[in-house]
Symmetry: C2
Subunit: 214 residues, 2 copies
């Protein structure tokens, strides 16, 4: 079996899932495939293009969501699929919004989203559509990015009180105890119990309501 862009992307995704984007190198991908590092450059222009490849593979999975009759259901399905993809491949969130996603499957997802949004009541002309798409994508990018970094820090500190107090704890509790950040302090101590998915859904409908002028 002679190697291919698909196999390279699949191997890269496996490694990135395990060790993150920082732990991903051309050499390691090559080793995973049992070839010399330079072989990859027969199929890929440079590492950036390789990342674009990986991103588009993820978009392919996102594009698999069934399209619904209602525009809103369609947008919700795409948004949740995107979030779920980012939770499955946390490195995806690192690339989100970082460079234009122009792969065929990314374009397909963009097309589905734009088509759905254009059927929303609040969106009249093409300018409305551009703005609405911008607002939705901005929220998606930011929300997913935030959730993933939160999950990462939670995992690294362990969420356990002991590890937490040992790592960020000293600095942060000292900061919060200065009394200069009362609202933030209240958020930290009282507001850790919200479910992530529920929050995402809630804020997503909020944004959607804003877009459609509901």
């Amino acid at each position: 079996m002679p190697l291919s862009r698909e196999k390279i992307a699949a191997a890269a995704i496996r490694l990135a899932d395990r060790h993150g984007l920082d732990g991903l190198s051309v050499r390691k991908i090559a080793k995973e495939l049992g070839v010399g590092p330079m072989r990859l450059y027969d199929y890929v222009l440079n590492k950036a293009e390789l990342l674009d490849l990986m991103v588009d593979v993820v978009y392919a999975r996102i594009a698999e969501v069934d399209s619904h009759a209602g525009w809103r259901e369609t947008v919700l399905a795409i948004a949740h699929a995107t979030r779920q993809a980012a939770l499955d491949h946390e490195w995806f969130s690192d690339l989100l919004g970082g460079r234009p996603h122009l792969g065929p499957h990314a374009l397909a997802v963009g097309e589905a989203t734009a088509a759905a949004l254009s059927r929303s009541p609040g969106v009249r002309g093409i300018d409305d559509l551009q703005r609405a798409l911008g607002a939705l994508n901005a929220f998606l990018i930011g929300a997913i990015r935030r959730e993933v970094t939160e999950r990462r820090t939670a995992r690294s500190t362990g969420t356990e009180e002991a590890a937490w107090q040992a790592s960020l704890g000293p600095y942060l509790t000292r900061m919060l105890r200065t009394g200069r950040y009362p609202t933030v302090a209240r958020l930290v101590v009282d507001g850790a119990h919200l479910d992530a998915e529920e929050t995402f859904s809630h804020n997503l409908t909020t944004v959607l309501d804003g877009i459609t002028g509901a």
Copy 2:
């Protein structure tokens, strides 16, 4: 004058402004300061902490915005200051949402934002506040990130029709001509004339309206 975290951060910011985050290395910062590379590690634990330092310097400038009487004016001012800071230091957008911003000035901005939002009519309890803050920050992160990457690609392709057609053009026009992405195609050809700041403001008020339930 014996070197300090502030001077290191300032030099790093100068370099990052000129050559981007990728063009930033410990060695170059040290050279800019006229010292050996290892000196920096007397003031900074590792490169990640150095980036956090840079980020907090930017937040210091954002925190300088005057606080207004109305909660909405305050939020708007902070949001626009953040956007402007990211346009002045494009590398800032690369770090936005990537790791928790816990520097003193970042916390100050967070505190000001949270305090203002908590005075909004639609935000009642602490759970509402957490959700509202999440939605606002998500939009901010995503919108700024998107705008900066758009600006970067526009600059790299030149926006001129000639350079555009030469770089992304062939691939993208070929893709769009397949007819599989009609809505996206319409957006690309018809919707390039919107002012970025106006779009940002528009979508920001949309999100804010959604949060406050207006």
